[in-house]
Amino acid sequence: MRSEAIVRRVKRRFLAPLGMTLVMRVALLALAICGYFATNICGQVTSQRLLESAKEPQNWLMYSGDYAGHRFSALEQINTSNAASLVPRWAYQTMGGGKFETTPLVVDGILYGTGQDDRAFALDARSGRPIWQYQRALPSDIRPCCGRVNRGLAIYGDKVFLGTLDSHVIALDAKTGNVVWDVTAFDYRQGYSITLAPLVIKNLVMIGVSGGEYGIRGFIDAYDAATGERKWRFYTVPGPGEPGHESWEGDSWKIGGAPAWITGSYDPVTNTTFWTTGNPSPSNRGEGRAGENRYSNSLLALEPDTGKLKWFFQFTKHDEHDYDATQVPVMVDQGDQHLILQANRNGFFYVIDRASGKLISANPYAKVTWSDSKDASGAPVARKDASPTLDGNRVCPGAAGATNWMSPTYDPQTQLFYVTAREQCDIFSTAPQPYEAGHAYYGSAYFPNDDTAPFWGALRAIDPATGKIKWEWKHPSPTWSGVLSTAGGVVFTGDAEGNFIALEAGTGKALWHFQCGASVYSSPMSYAIEGKQYVAIAAGSALFTFTLP
C-alpha cells in the first residue's frame, strides 16, 4: 500500500510535467524507489560488485580486498621508483585503548572502519573527516580472550555489518551509522564473542565466533542481510550422529572450542566458501578430549547457501599448542591447478587442492619442533614428546605461532606469497582445570623460552610452487602486522617497533618507512580517490593514510 502511494507521489511530482517516454519514466521511477527504500537489490554495493571487485581497484570492498583472500591492490600509482617519497595524508584517532586491528573498507569515496570496544566509523576517505561514528554499548562482563578488538566491517547494499564482543551481529545504515537490525548470535556470558570482519556472499552475512579460551562450541553463521534472520549455522564441532563426532572423547565435544575467528574466502566458480577454525578446548591440554578433535584447526569448504560441508582438511590434529588455523585461506590458480595456500600458525606452509581438499605439499617456513615426520598424505604429524608437561616442555613455534591472524598476501605479478613469520619458542606447561561455563579454560600456561631469546620475526616471500623462501625482511622482534601487495611492485607491512614499511616485492629491499608511534596489530589496504592512491594502516589509536606528495 505504502509503496503504491509513493509511486503515485513520485509520478505526480517528477514525471508528469516532464513528458517523458514510458521507458524513461519506468527507469527513473525505479531509481526513485530504490533511493527511497534503499533496498538490497538497488543498494549501493551489489553482489555483482563484490564478485567483480577487481574491476574497481579504487575501492576496497571486503576484508581481504577480494573473495580470493589475496589482499592485493591493482593500483600502481605508488611504485618502486616513487615509494620513497610517500607522505602521511591524514590520521583518524579512535581514542580507543589496546590493539587496533581494523582493515577499513573504502566504497565510492567513503572509508568504513572499526575500532577498539566495537566502535565503527565512516570517514571522508580523502580527508579523514568523520561522517558518522557508532559505539556499541558493551556490557561490562564480556569475555574477549585477547583484547577488546575488532578487525573490520563487511558491506552489502546500503548497510555495513559488524560482529561484536558481546556476540551480536549488527547491521548499520551505511550513510548514517543507524542500527538497522541487531541479532544475538549466542549468549556472550558463556564465552562467545565476535572479533572478525564478516563476509558477505550473495545476500548472506557470514560470521564465525571467538571463544576458544572458554570452552565454547564453535560455529559459523549466515544471516539474511536484509532482515538479520539466521539462515544456517554450521557447528565446527560435530554433534551426536554427525560425521566426526567420534573424534571427541565422551562429552568433550560440548566444550570442544574450534572457534572460527578469521574471515573466510569464496570461490564463485564452484560456489564454495572456505573458512578456517581454531584450537580445540582446552587449548593446551589434550587429556579428556582423546581423538583428532574435528573440525578444530581445520580448513572447511562450505556451500554458502546452506552451510553444508563439502570437505575439510585438518592441519593440526588433537592440538595441544594453541595452533589455531585461523589464517585467511588464500585461493590461487596455477595452470589448471586450483589451490588454497595457507601459512599455518603451526609453522608449515600448506598447498591444498581447492576442489577435493587433498594436501599437495606442506613445508616449514619457520622453526618447527612439534613435528618431525609426515603421514602417508604428506601431512606433518605431532611428535609424541611434544605435549605440554607439568614442569614445562619447550616447543617451537610458541603459543602465538609461526604466524597468527595477521593477513598474508598473494601477489599475482610476482606469484609470491608473503607472510609475517614469528620466531619464538615457548615452554608449555599443563594446568588441569575444571570447565565452568563462561570461565577461562586453557588447561595450561606457556612462557617465552629465555634460552632462545631474543625472539624475532620476518616478512617472508614464499614461492608457492616450491615452498621455498625467496627473500626475507627481518623484524627486530615478533610482529603482528599483516601484509599488502600492490600492482606498483610494492609490498607494505608494519612492525612491533611502530614502523609502517614499503618493500620491493621482488627483492625485499626497503623503499620507505614511517614511524606510527605504536606497534602495528593490523593489516594494510589501499584505495584511490580521484586517481590518487592511498595506503592505510591502523596503529595505536590512529588510522594513518599515505599518498605521494
Binding site: G98, K99, R143, P144, C145, C146, G147, E213, Y214, D391, G392, S429, A431, P432, Q433, P434, H439, A440, Y442, S444, A445, Y446, F447, P448, D450, A453, P454, F455, K474, H475, P476, S477, P478, W480, D495, A496, E497, G498, N499, I501, A510, H513, Q515, A518, S519, Y521, G540
Partner: protein
C-alpha cells in the same frame, strides 16, 4: 557440615559479597589452593614463574613480605587493580590472560599462601655492609643507580630487591649474560628491549661500545661506556654489531664472596622495601 559449607560459599558467590571481605573465604583450604595453582599458572606464572618464585619479569611471591601489602585484602587489591607504574596490570587487562573472577582471585591467594615461606624472609646478609660494598669495593655503583645515586650505564636497582627473586639477583651478578636485564618497555609492544651490547663504527671511523637503549629496524639509540647517548640511523653507519654478552663483569667468588653478595642483596631488599 560439608554440604552446609558449600551452600554458604555458593550463597556468597551468588550475592557477590566476596570482594567486600578482607579475609580470604578459602583461607587454609588446600583444595582451593590447588585450583588456585592452576589459575596462577594460566594468569600469573607468565611473569611470576611456575612456582611463584619470580621470573625475569615479576617478583618472587613466596616471600612473606610483599612489596604492595601482605594482607589478603592487599593482595586481592594488587591482583584486581594492578600496580600503577609497574608491569603488574589490573586483572583482565593483559593481552595474554582473560581475567579471573573474584572467587578465582581468592583461590590464587590461597595458592600463594600455600607456597609462602613460613618465616618472614629475613635477609641473611648485612644491609649496612652491602651498602658499603655497593658504593665501594664491589663497584656496583659505577654502573647502577639506587635512589638517584650511582652510575647510569646499567639498570636502576632501586626497586630490584622487591621486584626480583634472590635467585634472579644472584644469577644476574654471577652470570649477567645468561639472562639480560630488561630495558625500555614500549606501550603495545610485546617484548621489552634488553640490555644488549653494541659496537658501532660511524662513517668517519669513530668506534663506540655501549648498551642498546632502544632500536628498530632503521635506528639505534645507545649509551656508550662513558654514559654518552648516541642516536644513529643504521644505514649511515660503517658497521654495527650487537652481542648478548653483557658488558657487566661476571662476579666470581674471588671478586665477590657469597657472603658479600648476600650483604648486597640484603641492602637491595632493604632499599626496595622502602
Amino acid at each position: 557440615m560439608l554440604i552446609g559449607c558449600a551452600a554458604a560459599l555458593a550463597l556468597i558467590a551468588v550475592t557477590g559479597t566476596l570482594r567486600a571481605q578482607d579475609k580470604n573465604p578459602f583461607a587454609g583450604d588446600a583444595k582451593a589452593a590447588k585450583v588456585g595453582e592452576f589459575q596462577f599458572r594460566a594468569n600469573c606464572a607468565f611473569c611470576h614463574g611456575l612456582g611463584a618464585r619470580g621470573g625475569g619479569r615479576g617478583p618472587d611471591l613466596t616471600r612473606a613480605q610483599k612489596r604492595h601489602g601482605n594482607s589478603d585484602a592487599d593482595i586481592f587489591r594488587t591482583i584486581n587493580e594492578g600496580v600503577p607504574g609497574t608491569a603488574m596490570p589490573p586483572n583482565g587487562a593483559t593481552q595474554q590472560g582473560v581475567g579471573m573472577t573474584e572467587e578465582e582471585i581468592w583461590q590464587v591467594i590461597s595458592y600463594i599462601r600455600s607456597v609462602q615461606v613460613k618465616a618472614p624472609a629475613q635477609p641473611v646478609g648485612s644491609a649496612a655492609h652491602g651498602k658499603e660494598l655497593f658504593y665501594g669495593t664491589a663497584g656496583c655503583s659505577m654502573c647502577h643507580m639506587v635512589r638517584g645515586k650511582g652510575g647510569r650505564f646499567g639498570p636502576d636497582l632501586s626497586t630490584t630487591g622487591s621486584a626480583r627473586s634472590t635467585d634472579y639477583i644472584v644469577e644476574s651478578v654471577r652470570a649477567p649474560s645468561r639472562r639480560l636485564a630488561q630495558g625500555i618497555s614500549e606501550a603495545m609492544k610485546e617484548f621489552s628491549q634488553e640490555y644488549e651490547t653494541v659496537t658501532v663504527v660511524t662513517a668517519d671511523g669513530t668506534k663506540y661500545l655501549g648498551v642498546v637503549l632502544n632500536e628498530d629496524h632503521f635506528t639505534l639509540q645507545m649509551m656508550d661506556t662513558r654514559e654518552n647517548l648516541h642516536l644513529f640511523e643504521k644505514d649511515k653507519l660503517r658497521s654495527y654489531e650487537k652481542s648478548r654478552e653483557s658488558l657487566m663483569t661476571a662476579y666470581d667468588q674471588k671478586m665477590l664472596s657469597d657472603k658479600e653478595l648476600q650483604d648486597i642483596i640484603a641492602y637491595l631488599m632493604e632499599v626496595g622495601a622502602q
